[in-house]
Symmetry: C2
Subunit: 165 residues, 2 copies
């Protein structure tokens, strides 16, 4: 297993661990900035879930006999900066701020969906069954969070934003 | 239409225009770096398609009476940096480099899928029918590209990477 694909797998695991740890720090700020209760709850729930994703990643490292380590993820760094910019440009307590929060959060979710999808494929090919199972659990939770955010956006936030000036 | 949601819509359009323009510059490098012919063709095809996405975005701006303008997208900047790092860490002419290229490219595709999805929802709510139609066309092409990359990864690249040291 000590080949180039294994190295790429480890590199991607370190990248997503950094991403999850930084998202974990940002989510309480996003929850606090949310106007609607639904969105605040969604961010609070995802914060707790993200703590679980970090634990699961540590189990993945362990399952393949590697030491858990985080390495700066340039993409998540950019995504979090962008989410903050969207926040700065919208007024506090408005529904359009919620629309901005959702837009930023869905980009983050899609980043994670792409990464866990890749990791799951790599784990499958290398026969890391335990790792694959753990990665798929998180992948499904990320997809569910993305769907939940779409639901909130469609049913509520965006139409309300139209009522405001 | 001159409300806060409209402003957010414009801001996101400027962001994705920057992202598409920079992706357009990067794709020929990615095509050149690809080992397999399938992947090289996929990148070459997506390069051409991306040129069309840029044109469509300009039409979207025009359709809502706004001047087309690109503003730096921190997220795409991070994603492209990450894709380059993945490339630097894999040896030229190996299948694992293709796996790295696909991993980076799918993150980029998911970023675009999230952004065009948001833009399409905003356009729908604000009644921008022409804009919505243009955005949905691109959204479908980005999804098809992501599927194509998954297909190449599953059928070919990753298994071949296992044969290498």
């Amino acid at each position: 297993m000590d080949n180039a694909l294994h190295e790429l797998f480890i590199q991607e695991l370190r990248d997503i661990l950094w991403a999850e740890e930084h998202l974990y720090k940002s989510l309480p700020k996003m929850a606090k900035a949310a106007t609607s209760e639904d969105l605040r709850h969604a961010f609070e729930g995802h914060h707790e879930q993200t703590g679980g994703h970090i634990e699961r990643l540590k189990q993945v490292f362990e399952s393949i006999g590697e030491k858990s380590k985080a390495v700066k993820c340039e993409a998540m760094d950019g995504l979090l900066k962008e989410a903050e910019e969207l926040l700065d440009d919208s007024a506090k307590g408005t529904m359009v701020r919620d629309a901005a929060l959702i837009a930023g959060a869905q980009k983050i979710e899609h980043y994670e969906i792409a990464t866990y999808g890749t990791l799951s494929t790599f784990a499958k090919i290398m026969g890391h069954k335990k790792a694959k199972q753990l990665l798929d659990q998180t992948l499904n939770e990320e997809k569910a969070t993305d769907d939940k955010l779409t639901g909130i956006a469609e049913s509520f936030v965006n139409e309300a934003a139209m009522e405001e000036k």
